[in-house]
Amino acid sequence: MNGIFSRNEAFVALIILGLVLIIGSINPNFFTLGTLYDLLRSSVVMGIFGVGVLMVLVSGGTDISFTAIAAFCTYVTSRYLNSIGFEGSVLVAFLISGAIGVLLGLINAILISSFKLPTLIVTLGTGNMFRGFMLAFIGTKIVTVLPPGMIRFSRTEFFPVTTLIGGTNGLSAAVFVLLAVVPVTWYILNYTMLGRGIYAIGGDRVAAERAGLNINVIQFFIYCYVGFLAGIAGIVHSSLVRTANPFDLVGTELSVIAAVVLGGARITGGHGTILGAILGVFLVIIINNSLIMMGVPSYWQSAVIGMIIILGTSITALQSKRESRVSIVDNQ
């Protein structure tokens, strides 16, 4: 709360720092603006997902349908825009994709709040449903020529620098999408009663009800917002990889959840911060992108991420255990 550096965040920040120093000492090329640009660009999609996952985890739920929603939104949007020959701004793509995301999130919200079903089960079901629906009714063909707006978006870069091999490398415009999503969500979570309500229902649902919170309204907001973020992330992802692939993204949801948990969010709800979630995502991205630079085979990436998750959570668990172990014996 209030940006206090809780233990988990400090731990993740330290690991990031240590990792950066190690990678840099092995491969000095790491310390360039170009690398930073690369890392930031790679973090955007997982970062946006992470922000959404954080909100769901804080409320005490689990959403694993967001990758399916993202794939659905971006695929449908790209095909639709291509079919009408739309050549305008990428903002329209974001708008359509985000709107579809909200609709799909609404389905999650309706199932969760009206039938009081467990969120994990609902999103496990809807995730598969969305994906199957898309593959069966909309298509399976990969869109390799994106609408021009998305292509222009993917080429937009700022603050260019010359790379070692002579080309130029700039800060991708996609990074600014993350830079918009983060403060907005941070504000919602920390400075609105809605956001504090999300923490409250994650902390104690019954108490929240007794306090007069409308839990249904809050859940509708959460799942629609997460759907919206997934829609946005989908467009960013398609633009960056220059294809809209209906088979893409699904399967990465657990890594996103892992990254957010690494940043201090608890699966049981009520705990977690945006800062932690973003740090967790950065750590995972750095590991994914940089172990190769250190000459570590890429198979090791998920093993290392797994080890850090276990290490990170056990360190905090050990600390709180040690604190509670105060001796009551009076050793006269």
């Binding site: 709360m1 209030n2 920390n190 400075y191 609105t192 009663m193 809605l194 956001g195 504090r196 923490y199 409250a200 994650g202 902390g203 104690d204 019954v206 108490a207 929240a208 007794r210 306090a211 007069g212 919170l213 709800g269 009520g270 705990h271 509670s324 172990r325 105060v326 001796s327 009551i328 014996v329 009076d330 050793n331």
Partner: protein, 511 residues
């Protein structure tokens, strides 16, 4: 203006054909401390819910501050100054004390955004109301129970409370904390705030209340000034029967008998040190002390949950090692845990399955399949012996009342034929009728030759049922009394620490 703040007139309520309240009346004056007393199922909670507006009465009238309500909604109750402090406090463990204090207030004010400076300000005001200080920036989950309760009380006061209803407020508190809660109640009363204290703990009722209302089976059975009541009268009205509070008479069997259980120099780092005692067959030994004195840890060590690190345990003169629960069960030690809901029962499972859970291995036929006849025989026998009231043993344990649930826990251990039975807080949250029954069961078991160890801070329970009492303080046994040698007042005083002046820090009480 009328002296009466709240008048409940002829209120009735039934759920699915079962009459929960029958023409109940209750009057609470301004600035009065009123105790609402009754056993589980007497209609206490229904009455509270009606006063809070959560449930609508079928008939009758509720008058608050002169205004009559046929149907009261929660928002009306809050507006008229009625606040409830629930048994679980209804706090958000993941939020700071400050935010917990301010959250409901901001919600009532229909605020949309949160100004953290306001939150701090509201929280400080709230704490000022009851003259206590707690660290407002700590998360509630990190606070001791007593502090959580203070947060809940000061939160209630933020809403200009005129009547605070406290539902079983002392369940999780140590004696010292109960004392400071009573001070807070007295302070509220001086400010003209009424308190409805809902409880079934007789000593507390007699101490704090000015007037007492007793419900039984959804009806008023007694109402009057505290001076009109004493323990026996309260018990009589609550249970509708005369319950004699007799003491357990231990008859030593043979003078030279070896002790059933002998514990010698038992220690566990940070929990208890150098504990030695004996239990002879037929004895009920009480181990008492404040929360955090090491009594629970000692019980857990004897049952292998948190094994002792030093010292010896002898069973019938034979040296045994208890490194885990399996060891303890094998040697014939049974353990009835403090919190039956989380440690003692599988709540959604059937009553029968719970009873046989610890003896499944003995019910096996060849091939490892459970023998249903043997199982049912076991279940039937213990339902009869322990007088468990249920239409069918296939119902989930959750469907039983607290007293009956506790009997199921007992049954679960009695099926193992234990030689030593360790009972940790055997009647916590059990109403008086069942409590007496459970005490009888324990006494009968002892008379049949079991050695029983009751670990409890319920002083009357310890005094009435134990022929020997060991007092623990700071992880050590500091004194031993014979059951008929000590009075309740004496034991209470010794428990708190000698002359009562010895400080007991709250951190210590909650490890």
């Amino acid at each position: 203006m009328s002296e009466d703040f709240l008048v409940v007139k002829n209120v009735s309520k039934s759920f699915a054909g079962i009459q929960a309240l029958k023409k109940v009346n209750l009057v609470i004056r301004r600035g009065e401390v009123r105790c609402l007393v009754g056993e589980n199922g007497s209609g206490k909670s229904t009455l509270i819910k009606i006063i809070a507006g959560v449930e609508a009465p079928d008939e009758g009238e509720i008058i608050i501050g002169g205004k009559s309500f046929r149907r009261l909604y929660p928002i009306d109750a809050i507006r008229e100054g009625i606040q409830i402090i629930y048994q679980d406090f209804s706090l958000f463990p993941n939020l700071t004390a400050a935010e917990n204090l301010a959250f409901n207030y901001l919600l009532q004010k229909k605020q949309r955004s949160v100004n953290w400076k306001d939150v701090q300000k509201i929280a400080r005001e709230a704490m000022k109301n009851i003259d206590v200080t707690i660290d407002l920036n700590r998360r509630v989950e990190e606070l001791p129970v007593a502090d959580k309760q203070l947060v809940a009380i000061s939160r209630a006061l933020l809403h200009n409370a005129r009547l605070i209803i406290m539902d079983e407020p002392t369940t999780a508190l140590t004696r010292k904390e109960v004392r400071s809660l009573f001070q807070v109640i007295t302070k509220l009363q001086r400010e003209g705030i009424s308190v409805l204290f809902v409880s079934h703990k007789l000593d507390e009722i007699l101490e704090i209340s000015e007037r007492v209302t007793i419900l039984r089976n959804g009806q008023n059975v007694a109402d009057g000034d505290r001076s009109e009541f004493d323990r026996n009268k309260l018990i009589f009205h609550m249970t509708g029967r005369e319950i004699e509070e007799t003491r357990y008479q231990y008859v030593p069997r043979h003078s030279s008998e070896t002790p059933l259980l002998r514990v010698d120099g038992l220690s566990r780092q940070g929990s208890f040190a150098n504990v030695s005692f004996c239990v002879y067959p037929g004895e009920i030994v009480g181990i008492t002390g404040l929360l955090g004195s090491g009594r629970t840890e000692l019980a857990m060590a004897l049952f292998g949950l948190k094994p002792a690190t030093r010292g010896e345990i002898y069973l019938n003169g034979k040296h045994i090692h208890i490194r885990n629960v399996q060891d303890a069960i094998r040697h014939g030690i049974g353990y009835v845990p403090e919190d039956r809901l989380t440690e003692g029962l599988f709540l959604p499972q059937s009553i029968g399955n719970n009873m046989v859970a610890s003896v499944i291995a003995r019910l096996k036929k060849k091939m490892g399949i459970i023998d249903p006849q043997k199982r049912d025989h076991h279940i039937e026998r213990w339902i009869k012996t322990l007088k468990i009231v249920t239409p069918s043993p296939t119902l989930p344990v959750r469907s039983l009342s607290g007293g009956n649930q506790q009997r199921v826990v007992l049954a679960k251990w009695l099926t193992t034929n234990p030689k030593v039975l360790i009972l940790n807080g055997p009647t916590v949250g059990v109403d008086i009728g069942s409590k007496t029954d459970i005490h009888h069961i324990i006494r009968n078991l002892a008379q049949e030759g079991i050695g029983a160890v009751i670990i409890s801070d319920d002083i009357p329970e310890i005094i009435q049922n134990c022929n020997r009492i060991l007092l623990m303080r700071r992880g050590r046994i500091v004194e031993e009394f014979s059951g008929d040698q000590i009075t309740e007042e004496e034991l209470a005083r010794k428990m708190i620490g000698g002359d009562g002046s010895e400080p007991v820090s709250s951190e210590m009480a909650f490890v």
